[in-house]
């Protein structure tokens, strides 16, 4: 299917854009029509995703569905898209979550309603997310990476909670600062590399040749700021709890499930292969920040009273595991990181869905006021329990395969020489990280079970005793069951995902290893 090979990714990125334009042309009062058009658009996009899955060659590490057309000739930047085993799961996850988010929103749009604007923004967000995962040109990547900001800014600012203005601008300024520094690094890279190009595969194929170590470390710092703020890594995480707490449910889900992954994806796709020796110097520091994030996030969780804020802090901790996996620079660790990205997307996305539904029914997320959900809404309660288990890394569910291998991989990271002297120093540094991260999993079990206990167990509080609450309703079942099923499937049969990611991860690590020698 030559035609499909050439057009699949372009369609995947721009069908949502077309859908957005159509939505914008429909009068605001035609809400039903707007919803149907949006749903169809996202379904077609997902359909393309499924077709890509079917057509993908899982044994190859090469870029597939590769398309390269001239775009801005003058600055030598091309419209270059393509996917490998690392981008594919993220791309499909993004399409998948967008459909579910539209279904979930069907009958409950947050105030001030305005279905048209809300759905148009979701579609625009999808353009940015899909585009980031397929871009193979630094400038194209940058554009899509930034496009994501606007819809999320408006989503938080217009449909968010009481403190929405502060949260939305904080979100935007943090990310913008990071991406400005990232752009500077990209440009410097352009002028320093022998080939003067923005092409990601071409730059990766050089594995940092011609750029001296010190410069690589500096350039890596610029990219690090861009990506680490997005992840977010401690100490750049402070925008995240605010953004999550204020964002509407759907915004939180998209933020947690996809937007945070743009950062980790950027590390794996761009920063590591293009600047291997910079990455090597930075790796122990990234590992350090990652484990600080794990512990800090967990302790932060234990101090929360708001359920959504707790889940937000748990994101900081989980992304810490992902970054620890990345920092090891091993195939094992990076495979775990990609798995962790998908698993966190599904599990934390679900937790935010549940938190949103709780808020909608009780009008509060204050954990001290909630309780006895298992009595009042048994289905919802059990779903929450299931997600909490998955999130704390229970074997047999998806969360386990992100955390456990990441911890394990830091036992023997491939770092011949690091900042702290010889091989042994780095080795023991990472082994220390391993122990700290393991303690983090214990804390994770602690805060998640504690949340579960306060929200789901016990007696219903007097103020809500006579409140009639509807258990999980139709739209919620449709939106949630695919995610719940996937959490189990990936937990039971993780090879499903590891098989896809492994060849591409091996290629990335080989490139890094070559650049380090």
């Amino acid at each position: 299917m030559d035609w499909f090979d050439d057009w699949a990714l372009t369609l995947a990125v721009f069908i949502p854009a077309v859908g957005m334009l159509i939505v914008m042309l429909i009068p605001r009062a035609e809400e039903q029509l707007i919803k149907v058009v949006t749903l169809i658009t996202t379904l077609i996009t997902l359909g393309i995703g499924v077709a890509i899955l079917a057509d993908f060659n899982y044994d190859s590490a090469r870029l597939q569905f590769n398309v390269k057309e001239t775009w801005i000739d003058v600055i030598n930047s091309n419209y270059h898209v393509g996917i490998d085993g690392i981008s594919l799961p993220m791309l499909v996850l993004s399409m998948f979550i967008t459909v579910l988010v539209v279904i979930y929103s069907w009958n409950h749009f947050p105030e001030p309603h305005n279905v048209k604007a809300f759905l148009a923004l979701i579609l625009l967000l999808e353009v940015g997310m899909n585009g980031t995962f397929v871009a193979q040109d630094l400038i194209l990547f940058f554009i899509f990476f930034e496009i994501v900001l606007l819809p999320m800014f408006f989503m938080i600012g217009v449909w968010g909670g009481p403190n929405r203005e502060y949260a939305s601008i904080k979100f935007f300024l943090f990310t913008l600062f990071g991406s400005a520094m990232m752009l500077l690094s990209f440009l410097a890279l352009f002028f320093l590399s022998d080939v003067q190009t923005f092409d990601i595969p071409a730059l990766a194929a050089l594995h940092g040749d011609g750029i001296v170590h010190g410069t690589q470390v500096l350039l890596f710092a610029g990219m690090f700021l861009g990506f680490a703020i997005k992840v977010p890594m401690w100490p750049f995480h402070t925008w995240l709890p605010d953004a999550h707490t204020e964002a509407p449910t759907v915004g939180s889900v998209l933020l947690a499930a996809i937007l945070l992954k743009l950062g980790t994806y950027g590390f794996i796709r761009i920063a590591l292969p293009i600047l291997p020796s910079g990455a090597q110097t930075w790796a122990p520091w990234i590992g350090l920040l990652a484990v600080i994030g794990i512990i800090y996030g967990a302790l932060g969780c234990l101090a929360q009273r708001d359920m959504k804020r707790l889940i937000a802090f748990s994101s900081v901790a989980h992304m810490g595991f992902v970054m620890l996996g990345v920092a090891t620079l091993t195939t094992f660790g990076i495979n775990a990181a990609v798995f962790g990205m998908v698993a966190h997307g599904l599990i934390t996305g679900m937790l935010f869905f549940v938190a949103g539904s709780v808020q909608e029914r009780y009008g509060t997320r204050e954990m001290s006021r909630l309780g006895g959900m298992l009595e009042q809404m048994p289905h919802m309660g059990w779903i929450l329990a299931f997600c909490a288990m998955a999130s704390l890394g229970l074997p047999g569910l998806a969360g386990f395969w992100g955390e456990f291998p990441a911890i394990l991989s830091s036992y023997d990271p491939k770092l011949p020489f690091g900042l702290w002297g010889g091989t042994d120093g780095t080795l023991w540094t990472f082994r220390t990280f391993m122990v700290v991260a393991a303690i983090g999993t214990v804390l994770a079990a602690g805060y998640l079970l504690w949340m579960l206990q306060r929200v789901a167990m016990g007696k219903v509080k007097p103020e809500f005793e006579n409140l009639h609450v509807h258990d999980v309703h139709g739209a919620e079942w449709i939106a949630w069951s695919p995610m719940l099923i996937l959490i189990v499937v990936l937990g039971v049969y993780p090879d499903l995902l590891f098989k896809i990611t492994d060849p591409a991860v091996v290629k990335v690590v080989t490139e890094v290893a070559r650049g380090v020698q």
């Binding site: 801005i72 600055i75 929405r164 300024l173 500077l184 440009l187």
Partner: protein, 491 residues
């Protein structure tokens, strides 16, 4: 001796001059009720002047006249086309405002077109005296335009401040030029000055002269610390005039500076680069930080234009380093093009909103997303573009600026680039302030009861053109990039 005049090369200027004369005469002989025709004649004349620009571009030959003091090449043609299009959009922005005020219509268009004529001359000027004459032709009409609302104290203050400081800066600049004339043993042509600098060692007197000349231009482009007339003049002048000042007339100043640096002073980097570096850094830092505190949107846009001026100066300030020259000059031009589209668009929306609310406070934008969603969407596009957020054209302007910085690749250039990066993040905060008012706030009760005007056709077209440029160039910057590249081919 009769100078050899190439009438084809002069055709755009001739068409525009004819239009100016027709506007003046028509205004005298036509009865009061037909006065609105002046605007029609003016716009047709501006568009007609574009035709010879196109034929000259198609012809492609470089034409030099008056001993090389007046040149028509790619660079001049690209700028003439740019100035005429900007003039057309400025006319569209002004026309309803002017006819509502219902007096002195003919004079308004006469003055504005005269200023545009100065810009066309500026694009071709390659000699200190021609540049000076062009600059004064641009500026003097705008003194009067700033005071056009003659019964309004703010407008009078705006005009007087602008006039006094404009005259002062002219004096400083002329003084600098006269020293250059003396030092170079009597040359005013930029090329001769460059040759002189190439063959002689720099004297401190010459450096002072360059400093004075650039200082004079710094007033015109309102670079910090020569900016202090800008906020008051912009706020007091009629808003369409402010739009014209902040885009067209400012671009005129930048073009003068660009030409003089590129053709004349270029070999003596050490004397002008530090000056421009300081101007750029100070404008970016001061403009952006002060803009944060503004509550009036015109004043905010005034500080924003100071800051944007700083961004445009960045590539110029590093153009002497390494191989940065071409990339830098292109960056200045591309940034100017994009800046013109987004800033004119933003002012057009401000004027459209003020027709309803009669206010320029940022509060008056509260809830605009509900009452006039079309205006609010386009305004958001212009603001985010000014902030440099993709996919709107502003990102590419910032991009070429950073590209010049890294092409220069000196520590001082990179420091300037980092300042620019940090300041463009700061800038987002105040642009977002307006976006937040439009989308996140509820309209105040009195505002909610004000009926919504339909937007006049001229403003709609102006906003439409600006928005189309900002969106299309944002997604496909190759077009402007190519124009920027062509402009410096063969010069």
């Amino acid at each position: 001796v009769n100078p050899n005049v190439d009438f084809h090369a002069f055709a755009p200027e001739i068409v525009l001059t004819a239009t100016i004369l027709i506007v003046v005469v028509a205004d005298l002989i036509w009865p009061e009720r037909s006065r609105f025709m002046s605007s029609r004649i003016a716009s047709v004349g501006v568009l007609a002047a574009l035709i010879p620009v196109i034929t000259l571009a198609a012809d492609g030959a470089n034409r030099a006249m008056f001993n090389g003091a007046y040149v028509v090449d790619n660079y001049a043609l690209a700028l003439k086309g740019f100035f005429l299009i900007v003039a057309y959009v400025s006319l569209l922005v002004a026309v309803d405002y002017i006819s509502d005020g219902d007096y002195y219509q003919g004079e308004f268009y006469f003055l504005m077109l005269t200023s545009v004529l100065g810009m066309l001359i500026m694009a071709s000027a390659r000699d200190l005296i021609t540049i000076f004459v062009a600059l004064e032709t641009i500026t003097i009409p705008t003194f009067i335009l700033a005071g056009w609302r003659k019964h309004d104290e703010g407008s009078n203050e705006a005009a007087i401040k602008y006039f006094l400081i404009g005259v002062l800066s002219t004096a400083v600049m002329l003084y600098g030029m006269s020293i250059i004339y003396g030092e170079t043993r009597g040359s005013t042509k930029l090329i001769d000055i460059a040759t002189y600098i190439d063959h002689h060692s720099m004297t401190s007197m010459f450096a002072v002269a360059i400093f004075f000349t650039i200082g004079g231009f710094a007033f015109k482009i309102s670079a910090v610390p020569f900016h202090f007339w800008t906020p008051d003049t912009y706020e007091g002048a009629p808003t369409p005039v402010t739009a014209f000042l902040s885009v067209a007339s400012k671009a005129g100043g930048f073009v003068a500076l660009l030409t003089i640096v590129k053709v004349g002073f270029f070999p003596s980097q050490d004397s002008w680069e530090p000056v421009l570096w300081v101007l750029a850094a100070a404008s970016m830092i001061y403009g952006n930080l002060v803009a944060l505190r503004q509550t009036n949107i015109v004043r905010m846009l005034a500080y924003s234009s100071i800051a944007q001026g700083g961004f445009i100066l960045v590539p110029l300030a590093v153009s002497g380093d390494g191989d940065a020259a071409t990339a830098s000059f292109q960056a200045v031009l591309i940034y100017l093009f994009i800046y013109a589209a987004m800033n004119l668009g933003a002012f057009a929306v401000v004027i459209a909103v003020a027709r309803r609310t009669h206010s320029a406070e940022i509060d008056s934008f509260d809830g605009l997303g509900q009452s006039m969603p079309g205006l609010a969407v386009t305004m958001s596009i212009f603001l985010f573009s000014l902030a440099g957020i993709p996919p709107f054209a502003g990102w590419f302007a910032k991009f070429v600026m950073f590209r010049a910085v890294f092409a220069a690749d000196t520590p001082s250039a990179v420091v300037l680039g980092v300042i620019a990066a940090v300041m463009s993040v700061v800038a987002f905060f105040y642009y977002a302030k307006v976006a937040r008012a439009m989308w996140f706030h509820e309209p105040s009760p009195e505002l909610a009861n004000t009926p919504t005007h339909s937007i006049t056709p001229a403003l709609t077209v102006a906003i439409g053109i600006a928005a189309a440029v900002v969106v299309v160039i944002g997604i496909y910057p190759q077009f402007f990039a190519r124009v920027g590249e062509l402009a410096f081919l063969g010069t």
